[in-house]
Amino acid sequence: MVGRFRNGLSGLYEPIFGAQNSIRIPAFYQLDARLEKAFTLRRFKLSVFLDVQNLTNRKNPEELFYDETFTTRGTITGLPTLAVVGARMEL
């Protein structure tokens, strides 16, 4: 987005786009960890796990957006630290 203009019919601003691919979303990195323990029982196998995504709680930009007047740009970030405790049973 390199500019804006006021649409006299709607009263809203409209963006003036720059060249395609002339802007990039900032770099993305994320540290995930997973601990899993499997137990073999008589009739099935049971696995329990703890899966933690985005261990460093980094606010990774995933999308750009602008305010209604196209003067301020922000980013939509992904999920914060997300821990999942689970179990899986295989017959």
Partner: protein, 351 residues
Amino acid sequence: MARLLDQRSGRPPGRPAMPALTAGLTVALSVGVLGGGCKPELGAPPSLIAQPQVLDVRPSPPEAKPGAPVLLEPLLVDPTGTLAPPVAWTTCLTPKPPAESNAVSITCVEQPDDDAPPVVGPITLTVPASACSLFGPLTPPAQPGQPPIRPRDPDPTGGFYQPVRAAVRRQGGEGGGGDLLGFALIRITCDLANAPTDVARAFKDPVTGYHANQAPSFEAVTVVDATGTSIVVAGPGRAGPAPADVAIRPGDSIELRASWSPEAAEVFPVFDPATRTLVDQREALRVSWFMTAGELLHDRTGREAIDPEAFSDNTWTAPGVDVATLVHFWVVLRDNRGGSDSLAFDLTVSP
């Protein structure tokens, strides 16, 4: 027979493992902190004038035939009040390609200014004679080496619009003090296309048929101050500071009411291609509110087409100030056929 089991999976040897999705049962519990992925609030509200802006480019009349003159009046403001800089006017002659999502072609946004010197205040321009083929329902002229393209589709009100660019050239980047750009979209009076003869005749009937859009007009803006007193602060022929009896303290919530004439929301016929008949529509009216300090409850208000009321309310919270401060306001009234009106007024916040 000895029952041999796979030591790791517990299944008989040679038997393929069943896909986890079908044979497995997964139970998971999320204990993470959720709440990411939301779109946060960003920037100042559109109603706050913190830098120079184009608020409106008003065409008078708002609808005209090709070849007719139209008066164009820009409304430019900044935190100090209404501005009157030289404006470069450029008539757009390039239709918007279907692949572009804006209201006007990027060619018209970026094309050089016309040779005429910039003008302070209103200007009279002529709607191009080819407007109905460039932007309207007539088949556009084919470009050399290009296949003919189909005529334009009307907007939901059956309208077609001629864009005219108003540009105030300034130093610096856009958003931080660069060029101010606004487009007037003049509704063009064109013949009805693809309609049966009797419908086209009824559409052109001077009494019961379509009438060119007339701009809506404000009657007044009133405020209700903290004492409950309703006072007119703006109206046709009235501008500048509000009467001295409008008492506003920092943090006060002030009720604002913009009212217009009941005739402002016109009824007009639109050709419905599904039924191939004329259908009456009524204009919707929108009010855009702007101010230089404080906070408005709504950036835009208005009335839908089915709503017969001729006023719209908003609430302004006065800023916290230590000294008497003049706050500038502008309100812009628009119908959905390209007509507009505006009013300006000032309120003083006194600690």
